[in-house]
Structures are given as C-alpha cells and as structure tokens.
Symmetry: C2
Subunit: 187 residues, 2 copies
DNA sequence: ATTTACCTACCTATAAGTAGATAGATTGTT
DNA sequence: AACAATCTATCTACTTATAGGTAGGTAAAT
C-alpha cells in the first residue's frame, strides 16, 4: 500500500472516530510518519482529502452491490446490518453520521460527494426492499424509498447511541427488531 | 436575558448547527458582542460551556416531562415528534447526534453529562411506551426500553437525513410511519 | 470591602496551507 | 545507449489565522 492510500485510510479512521473537524494533517503525519506538507502534496486541501475518503466508501459500496447481486434480499440486508454492527463494535460511526452533524462547516464539493454517497446507499436499500416485496418476503409499503431512508437512518443513529452508552449490547437486540419488522410471518 | 444565558443559547445554537469542535469562543463573542475572555469568566473551559448547554437541554426535558404528566401517551409521543420536527426544519440536529460523532474528542465530564441526558430521554420514552401498552393503545413489545431507543434513534437520524437531502418533505411521512407502527388498529 | 461582570493585553499551541529544495524514477530525443 | 527534461514524492522552513486559556485591571453593584 502506497502512502496516498495510507493517508486515505488513516483519514478515514480519524474521521469516523473523531469527526471531520477534529482531526488534522498532523494527526495523520504522526501515525504514518510523513510530513504534513507531503500530505498536502497528495491532497492540497482537507476538503480534497475528505472527498477521497468518501470516494473510497462509495467504491466499497459499489463493490458490495456488485458482489451481492445474486443473493437473496435477506442476505443483502444482513450485509448492511453487519456493516453497522462492525462499526459499533469498533466504537465508530457511519460516515454519513460523522459528516452530517458538522455539515454546515464543510464546503460544497465535500457536501456534494457526501450527498452522492448517501443517494447511492438509499437507492441500493430501496431496491433491496422492492425485491423483497416482490418475492413476498418483506412486508409491502407504499413508499419503499422512504422505508429505506428510515432503515438507514435507524442504523446510523443506532451506532451513535450505543457509542454513548459505551456498551453495544442493545444493538443486536434492536437490529433483530428492525429485521423482524421487515419480514412477513415473523414468529 | 443576561449575558451568561445568552452565551449558553448561542453556544447551543452553534453546537447543534456545527458540532462541538467547530465553534469557538470567538464565534460567540462576535454574535453577542462580548470578549472571549469574558466568556471564560463564565465558563472557564469549553467543556464547562458544553456541560451548561446539555444541562439546559436536560432541564427543558424535565420540564416537558412534568408538563405532560397527565396527557395521553399519544400526546406525549407527539410532543417528542414536534421537537425533532422543529430541529429538522431549522436545519439542526439533535444534541445527542451532534455530540456523538465527535464523542472521542470530548472529555469525561462532558461525556458523562451527555450520557445523563440520554438516559433521561430513554427512560422517559420507555415510560411512555409502557403506559401506552398498559392502556392498550400501543402494540406490546417484549422490551420497551429497546423499543424506546429505536424510536429515539429514528428521530435522531431523521433530522440528520433531512439535512443532507436539504429538503424535509420526507419528515412527515416518516413520522407517520413511526407513529402508525406504534399504534394498535392503525387504519 | 468584596464580589460580579466585564475589559485589555497577552501566551502557547495548533491548524491549514505555501514556497522552495531535492533525490530518484520516468520519459523523450538524438 | 546517453543525456537532458520532466515528473513524483518527499523534505525543511515558513506564514497566517485561530483556538483555548491566563494575568491583571476596573467600574459598578451588593
């Protein structure tokens, strides 16, 4: 892994762990032993770095979408759950949540990239829900896009809450409720 | 309103709008025309200020709990919805969400105060759910505390999402879904 | 006489970013 | 193949701005 990728990965960790306004180039420089000016070479501004981090997430999401193409809706949705569970157990939050709370402090290009990622995620989950409904596995709903948003935001803030509580026992229980709530004939 | 209260209110706004690490004493000083050192007089450290902000929220919550004591569970829960709706239309996030994403950058006393607030909120919502179940208005659930958390996280992330989308048309729709989901005989 | 609520004038640390140098790899030209 | 030009990825050293906080003074209220 080259330095540029390393920088993105460290930035990703710091961002998700501390928030965008609470990590600096110096933090990165200390971790991977590179001067801050060299980070500026790769990412002239912090916004550029933020965009790179989101792009990485976007690519990972696209990979997941492709890889799970032929799986069942339940397997797909579980993939999503696992992702948030892992965040939670690592005391991290979703990138959307991490950036949204300070949204008004980010500049336009970064905000657009975040919106981009969010839309992709929403669209994917919406399609999973539709698929599940067509296969009569998931309960029907009038507006599955809305339901998708609800599902995502649920998971997002769930990891946030469990972070405060400093014990993520509740997360499994809640995720079970959410899944149950999605399925037909759950009992 | 005296300066101290003004400082808390401005800090509250800035915190909810931008996050804890993205506002400074200078920001406050510019808005209410006071020197930063005078803010330090009232709140020696930023942590002290943060704690004061949360305490304000805690008091408001306690007031709401007292005021709505004799109302129906539905009315109480609607009170909660209204609060989040207002946040959402003002492009703000819930204080819990605002502080959680940078949680690891906050020091202990502030974190404890946040936990305090969160617990109070969870307990209140749990008691509303229990009451509603006893009165056969809400669906029963095995673990109402878990369900309370789910409800809160739902609302928390709702405001975050509407912020990203930069349009809160979906808010009402989602709130209706959540409420419907709570009630027995909803149709 | 003391406390309250402010002030001016600092300090130290850090943030983000810039300027200019350099060693080493890559590429183009004859 | 030899040589020059250019590019890549890093460095040192700097600037400007801001953050959070401190020291010490002062006018007015209690």
């Amino acid at each position: 892994m080259n330095k540029k990728e390393q920088i993105i990965n460290i930035a990703d960790n710091l961002l998700i762990e501390k928030g965008f306004n609470a990590f600096s180039y110096k933090d990165i420089s200390k971790i991977i032993d590179i001067k801050t000016s060299s980070i500026h070479y790769h990412f002239p501004t912090k916004t550029d770095l933020g965009i790179a981090v989101i792009k990485k997430h976007l690519e990972a999401l696209e990979q997941t979408i492709i890889k799970t193409k032929d799986k069942t809706p339940i397997e797909k949705i579980k993939k999503l759950f696992i992702y948030y569970k892992r965040l939670s157990s690592n005391q991290m939050v979703c990138i959307v949540g991490a950036l949204t709370s300070g949204l008004n402090t980010l500049n336009e290009p970064l905000r657009i990239e975040l919106l981009n990622f969010t839309n992709k995620l929403i669209d994917w989950v919406t399609s999973i829900l539709n698929e599940g409904q067509d296969q009569l596995i998931f309960k029907t709903s009038t507006d599955s896009k809305l339901k998708a948003k609800l599902l995502i935001t649920n998971l997002m803030s769930l990891v946030q809450l469990s972070r405060i509580e400093h014990q993520n026992n509740s997360i499994d229980g809640i995720i079970d409720i959410i899944l149950d709530d999605l399925l037909i004939n759950n009992n």
